[in-house]
Symmetry: C2
Subunit: 477 residues, 2 copies
């Protein structure tokens, strides 16, 4: 029953992008809603994407010397309050535990919205000497932020993520690590998720509560809205001073450490859907596709067809994630289902193919079909999966570039955000008043000050004063 | 500084086992205490063991068809209350969230102590027809139980675990899955952790809140105390009736599903410590040792020594987890540190070894040293790691068997628990009154009714009535 609903038409993305998104997450069986308001169930098809993403990101972390740890999920209220900006940023959106068993607690505990304060409390004891530095720790866990409006993967009261937290002897080293991790995220997005990103720095208005500098990677969804896809923060010695994290330097003086943190979340599954998906459903980048090749037998009741399908599976699963759809549904139904679920390649094999010693490989991303000799199928599949990744990335990049505009003055800026959706590049004076005014009037936020700066004009598009930075603006998820 | 403390003597395990345990978890840097009472920080050396354990257990799950999912960490109070026995078992030890952000919640949420109720709430909608069955789902997450007394890994307010939750069309199939997963745990303990276990069924007194039957694997620690190391529960259709989880059968009738759940936790790191550890520190089973071979250069300042050490690392890390200790500490200090951390093999290489074309491999588990030709080192290391695993398992089995006693009557039973520590096998009538009396008098609990039953005597050692079952009794963590 559940299977049949899968291939009913989903809402067209051009008609109603939000409804299309909801249809895809439900019909590709990525999530389900729950009795716990604002929280979701991540179903096997969704969680398998997360596992692949997690393993590949974790491998990249470890290659840079990151070590994984696990800290408690609770933060005592007094600890959360130690850094002023931080508590102001997070206190309004945390969940409070007030009772343990049948007893009220002496002090409230919040469920971590992020763990800077806990890591500081830990590092305070763990770091004594310059010999203990740097510490480059990360944890994979879930965090809670009491959001009012929620959407699967994009914004939910509980979400899964990783949070890296590092301590360093010098400001330079902390800044280097902050940028290094931003680059890890950017490369990961392009090389694994086939999502191109803009790297840049957040304005002070948009930076993380307690950070000196927040760096971000921003991606553009199919509907022209921006998605903050990973952030990396340099805290300077602010948290160190609030928590008293000091070490004895080589010259025997006491010094404060410099710290960073960086995170990426399950919202990247939302990004995959909204960057690559189409009106037939999900389109998964090959490197995080739980099934890379779906083998669909044609006339499977004819002698030898299923045997050949299983034989191909056995051969292919040495290098790829493969399944055979041997259910009793029609091939057409199976095709539609494989499309909905976003499997990068479909392999069709029937009696005539077997006779001719070939099969058909069909690409999910562009529908292209290729006849392939059976003895060349591993080779061809490998090649095609590479090509699919490459083409998905380039298609997303082209879409983003086509939806990135330049505004030279406020009239152009307003017109663009009225008529178009996408990134708008424009010059800014650096004052928050202009940022506030733009947000107020157009519901648009500064996404980042990109590392690759251009001098579009000399003056701020908002106030006309001398421009300091080129900013990417957008409507964001 | 922190490094130097490592090799100070730890408390002898024969003198004070509890203090020895605490010393090892701290000095091998597995955990740290936190400002969050009853919760711990799992440090890199501890978390790396968990990652290896998790990956290998997860692979074994997946080989039996398990799929991973993620459900919310919160359970609304009304949901927790749906199954009577379950809520009675867990309500006294849950943490309650009463406020989200600045607002009080309409309904309290508990932080999951286990997720039967959430899975039931989910399956109620997810399962419609016999075609949807079975569902064999698992999640890796943390859970919270508000314990009064806590010990690192063994009992803490928050711990990491996996919890499998399955739904089946028939009682037989549910029972089969319950036993299958118990066997997965038992094999995993022996084949990966080198810990031998007793498989059996819990008495009704000791079974899980809401279960029809709880199966367990029990292991014996070095101090003769028992540790429940994994449990697998058959729920029958009790939860299904409480939550209304029904499906349309092939014959078009509505039926209740049958369910199971099963879990293993970070307490297994405690088991590794207490089964294999010795007075020099941790002894890690090779399959979960984050470092399997520690290369320690002798006279490392002499030309060619470090180069040779790095060359060996490069060769060995193709098949093993390896590190070179090239710090400026003395070799003796490095040896002691490698012992404290439990690395299965130490490779010593100095100028004389290089000249002679050999190195020394030293086993952590028994201190045995072997001279090995440099061109045979991969081969020999592989062989030794196999042998170490085998010997550790057999040593633990011999220790357990030597500390497993038989009591034929109450006098023997009492004498054994007064003079010895270990498992005592004795016959039982099946009545809870006898179990209660024994616990009351001797602080001893029934660990399990083993699958391998023996008829030791004809009567219950407590009441003298006809015996129904042989039970393993013990003092437990």
């Amino acid at each position: 029953m559940a299977e049949k609903k899968l291939v009913e038409a989903i809402t067209s993305m051009d008609e109603d992008f939000a409804q299309w998104y909801t249809d895809v997450v439900k019909k590709a069986e990525l999530i389900d809603y729950t009795s716990v308001k604002g929280c979701m169930v991540i179903k096997p098809a969704g969680y398998a994407i997360w596992e692949l993403l997690q393993r590949q990101l974790d491998d990249r972390f470890k290659a840079t010397g990151v070590q994984n740890v696990y800290l408690p999920m609770f933060i005592p209220e007094s600890l959360l309050e130690k850094e002023k900006d931080h508590v102001e940023g997070f206190a309004p959106e945390v969940a409070w535990v007030t009772h343990g068993g049948l007893q009220p607690l002496q002090e409230r505990l919040c469920v971590r919205p992020t763990s800077e304060t806990l890591f500081c409390d830990f590092y305070k004891n763990d770091v004594q000497s310059y010999r203990d530095l740097p510490k480059v720790y990360n944890q994979w866990c879930s965090v809670v932020r009491w959001e009012k409006e929620t959407r699967p993967f994009l914004r939910s009261r509980e979400f899964l993520w990783q949070e890296g937290h590092t301590v360093h002897a010098t400001a330079e080293e902390a800044e280097e690590r902050t940028i290094q991790m931003l680059n890890v995220y950017a490369d990961f997005c392009e090389e694994v998720l086939a999502i191109p990103v803009i790297k840049g720095r957040k304005t002070d208005k948009e930076k993380f509560a307690g950070a000196v500098a927040t760096y971000t990677i921003e991606s553009l969804m199919h509907d022209g809205k921006a998605l903050q896809s990973g952030t990396s923060h340099n805290f300077g010695d602010g948290f160190a001073k609030a928590f008293g994290i000091q070490f004895t330097n080589k010259d025997n003086t006491l010094k404060y450490v410099h710290q960073t943190s960086w995170g990426m979340t399950t919202r990247m599954i939302g990004a995959i859907i909204m960057v690559h998906g189409d009106n037939s459903g999900l389109v998964l980048p090959p490197k995080v596709a739980p099934i890379q090749i779906a083998i669909i037998p044609i006339q499977q009741k004819k002698e030898g067809v299923l045997d050949k399908a299983y034989e191909l599976k056995q051969r292919l699963e040495k290098n790829f994630r493969v399944k055979v759809d041997d259910t009793d549904k029609s091939p057409g139904f199976k095709f539609a289902e494989a499309e909905m679920r976003g499997f990068p390649l479909r392999l069709e094999i029937g009696p005539k193919d077997i006779e001719a010693g070939k099969c058909v490989l069909c690409r999910r991303d562009n529908g292209e079909k290729l006849e392939v000799a059976l003895d060349k199928v591993e080779e061809k599949a490998a090649e095609l999966l590479e090509t699919i990744h490459h083409d998905m990335l380039e298609r997303a990049r082209a879409h983003r570039d086509e939806h990135t505009y330049v505004a030279r003055n406020y009239e152009e800026f307003e017109k663009l955000f009225t008529e178009k959706t996408g990134f708008v590049k424009a010059m800014w004076c650096g004052e928050q008043t202009c940022e506030d005014a733009i947000k107020e009037k157009l519901s648009v936020t500064s996404r980042c000050m990109p590392f690759e700066q251009e001098q579009l004009t000399d003056t701020c598009i908002c106030c006309g004063k001398p421009a300091k930075k080129m900013v990417y603006w957008g409507r964001a998820y």
